[in-house]
Amino acid sequence: MTAFILRRLLGTLPIVLIVGIITFFLVQLSPGDPAMFYVSADAPPQEIERVRTQLGLDQPVIQRFGFWLGEVLQGNLGISFHQNRPVLTGFLDALPVTLWLAFFSLVIALVVGIPVGLLSALRPNGLVDKFSTVFALIGMSMPNFWLGMLLVLLFAITLGVMPAQGYDPTSFWTGFRSLLLPAITLGYSQAALVARMTRSSMLEVMRQDYVQTARAKGLRTPVVLGKHAFGNALNPIVTVIGLAIGSLAAGSAVVEVVFNLPGIGRLVVDSVMRRDYPMIQGILLLTAGMIIVINLLTDLLYAIIDPRIRYD
């Protein structure tokens, strides 16, 4: 197992490097001049050029890449144009909000998705199954920014029981309150996905001989489901959860803007709009690294939940 982990970790390095190279050139070669954001609208061209020089944008792109790569290999992601401080500091400031949001969303996805999927699988085409199909269809097809706006309208503006926007880190409770509506917004579509995957996986497993045997032995349905069926249906569900975490990272950008949460998603959107190259590159690199680690953890989880899988 240790050798597997080391091998996978070593394998992540070239992947992160490739991600870094691709994002660097995509970002640097995209149209738009960051200098325009640091001069007045009527600034003469020589003033814009002065700012470009200050930002290091007067150098050829290949030279900028060499410098950036050298710094990254030493653990320095550069200085944000806009924030005028290390990219890593800006990233770490924003990270907790996004992590908490992803955590709460995932909890909602699992707490809602798995029971709904299980109940659907119990009686295929029954009333609960039909309800869960509609639930899943809406969850997967409704844009999450729209759901977010509806939730704000109902719970923040009409009922006045939840905050409409912002993040209050004063205490766990205030932070939780700030993130509940965004987490529901983000978690709903994932819950729908988990519900559908749980249903189909359970239906597959429940057709297996050992489940029929368990039923024939006269075991109660909860025992059959919990002890014999669900454990064996977990593999595809874990795969979906692993993918969902990646989606949560990507989907959080829209939700963080709609709910004005100072997380990684809003930071990357603002940085793209401002062409804050160092910040965009740094965030993409670090996020890619995080997703690779999450995928590794997912793979390790397979070995824990399925004894047939060994990495030795």
């Binding site: 800006g90 923040a156 803007v257 004005n260």
Partner: protein, 522 residues
């Protein structure tokens, strides 16, 4: 010679509703003191460095820092940290008397050396220092007197040093020198003389200002950035909420008191709620289009530009910005404020579609493709684009609209081979320097076929002494501008402030949403 009457504005023309400017606020502070004001705006705030920055929210910086002179609602420079000024006979030396007893937020008293040191820093980092390139040096004559020495006479000096963004802000000499070219991002580095002082700056988060109890009040009624400033609130917070719908939701939910730049189509939600109000603030932003007069059909067939102007229904076009309370259309897409001496009213083009069609036919246009660039949001934006796109099609032009994000738009427009007409926007306070810039493309190259005398007339308008003479020169310049017809002005969109209905005295003549004279009536 006292030159306060010399200060006709470099910014020159005020479109919008500056007729309301006379409704200035009371000079004495008769409102209710105390409480906290929570503001949300579309721009993030990571620094309050007034000199180096133009892209951050303006009002918090103008509440913290002050300048030698400040613009009033008629765009006339008024005393601020300087109480009076004189020019030498050759126009090369301007001498300012400083206000007595003014203290910085750190307790130091303002002296002339602070002005000198602030200039030294501004000349290194100032975002608008290019406007002040005629300043040779700034000298402290004594503690209360400062002299600005110019290398060339510059009649618009007062207007340039009263710019409200990227400004020559006055800070303590020791801080200015310690900062040098470093950006002032930390709260302890942001020290001014304004009515509010910085308490905390949280990048991308919430910035907090607190009332400065030792503030020295300026004389005169509050008007735009000039006059009395009454800091009623104990504390003011600024939060960045980029999405306009979220700003409105936050206001409706009672989480903020004041939302800057509410879109016109969101205003009804605030009007219909019983605890919020809507305040349109002028001058707002001017809405216009630019023709590419260097390449393509609008360059090859100048009559085509006149055709586009002749048939345009600006009311219909401006309706894209929401209810008519929030914008003003110019059927004459020109400068037209009647009380302003520099107004051109001689180029009225009543809408005439038949004439427009006739001009298209006469122009020689051969159905060449016309790329129309737009960018989402604001005066530049797509709110006006669909109507324009349809209008150009109705004229029979082979138009293709391309919507780009702001940064991409900024770089694509520099390539003159990539567009024929584009949406444009900017502050409604149009300066002569801007008009000069309208004679060059984004790369700084003069447009071909500029009318003779373009730069000479402008120089006279900038540097001639005396308001009437400068107004006459400006009028002459406007004639040239209209003749060239490279910009199609269609109106102004006002900036809408959404506010809690218990807030009083929100300035209608200040689109920056200044907050120093607002109070809360419980």
């Amino acid at each position: 010679m006292n030159t306060r009457d010399f200060g006709i504005n470099r910014l020159s023309v005020l479109l919008g509703t500056l007729a309301l400017a006379g409704a200035a606020q009371a000079a004495t502070c008769e409102g209710v003191y105390g409480g906290e004001l929570s503001i949300a705006g579309p721009l993030s705030l990571v620094t309050l460095d007034h000199m180096a920055i133009t892209s951050e929210p303006t009002a918090p910086r103008n509440a913290v820092y002050e300048q030698l002179v400040a613009l009033d609602a008629n765009l006339v420079p008024q005393p601020a940290l300087a109480t009076s000024w004189e020019t030498s006979d050759d126009g090369l030396t301007w001498t300012f008397e400083l206000r007595e007893g003014v203290r910085f937020h750190n307790g130091q008293e303002l002296v002339a050396e602070d002005v000198v040191a602030s200039w030294e820093r501004y000349s290194e980092v100032g975002a608008r220092r290019f406007e002040l390139e005629d300043i040779d040096r700034v000298e402290a004559i004594d503690d209360r007197t400062v002299a600005i020495h110019l290398s060339n006479p510059y009649g618009a000096l007062l207007e340039s040093i009263s710019a409200m963004s990227g400004a020559w802000a006055i800070m303590p000499a020791n801080i200015a020198r310690e900062l040098g070219t470093t950006r002032a991002d930390r709260a302890e580095q942001v020290v001014g003389t304004g009515p509010y002082k910085v308490h905390t700056i949280v990048p991308e988060g919430r910035t907090t200002l607190r009332r400065f109890d030792d503030y020295t009040m300026h004389e005169g009624e509050a008007s735009y950035n000039a006059g009395a400033r009454c800091a009623y609130f104990d504390q003011v917070t600024y939060t960045h909420i980029s999405d306009p719908s979220t700003r409105v939701a936050a206001l409706l939910a009672g989480e903020i008191d004041l939302a800057i730049q509410v879109p016109g189509d969101e205003a009804d939600r605030l009007i219909n709620a019983n605890h919020t109000q809507v305040v349109p603030t002028s001058p707002g932003a001017r809405v216009y289009f630019k023709f590419n007069v260097a390449e393509g059909p609008f360059a090859d067939y100048p009559l085509l530009r006149d055709a586009v102007r002749a048939g345009l229904d600006t009311e219909e076009l401006m309706a894209g910005f929401g209810p008519s309370d929030y914008w003003r259309a110019n059927n004459t897409p020109r400068f037209q404020e009647p009380q302003w001496p520099w107004i051109d009213q001689s180029h009225h083009f009543p809408q005439d579609m038949d004439l427009a069609q006739q001009l298209v036919d006469e122009s020689g246009y051969q159905n060449e493709p016309i790329r129309f660039l737009v960018v989402p949001g604001g005066a530049t934006g797509w709110e006006k684009a669909p109507a324009m796109d349809q209008y150009l099609r109705d004229l029979g032009l082979n138009v293709r609209m391309e919507s780009l994000d702001g940064a991409t738009f900024g770089s694509v427009r520099q390539n003159l081979s990539s567009w024929e007409i584009k949406g444009a926007g900017g502050g409604s306070l149009v300066g002569l320097r801007y008009l000069d810039a309208s004679g060059v493309d984004r790369n700084g190259n003069p447009w071909p076929n500029l009318p003779d005398g373009w730069h000479d007339v402008l120089e006279r308008a900038l540097n001639t002494e005396g308001q009437e003479a400068r107004a006459a020169a400006a009028e002459e310049f406007y004639e040239l501008h209209a003749e060239f017809n490279n910009e199609l002005w269609t109106g102004d969109v006002f900036f809408i402030v959404g506010a809690n209905s218990n807030l009083r005295n929100i300035a209608t003549d200040d689109s920056t949403a200044s907050f120093w004279n607002i109070w809360r009536e419980e």
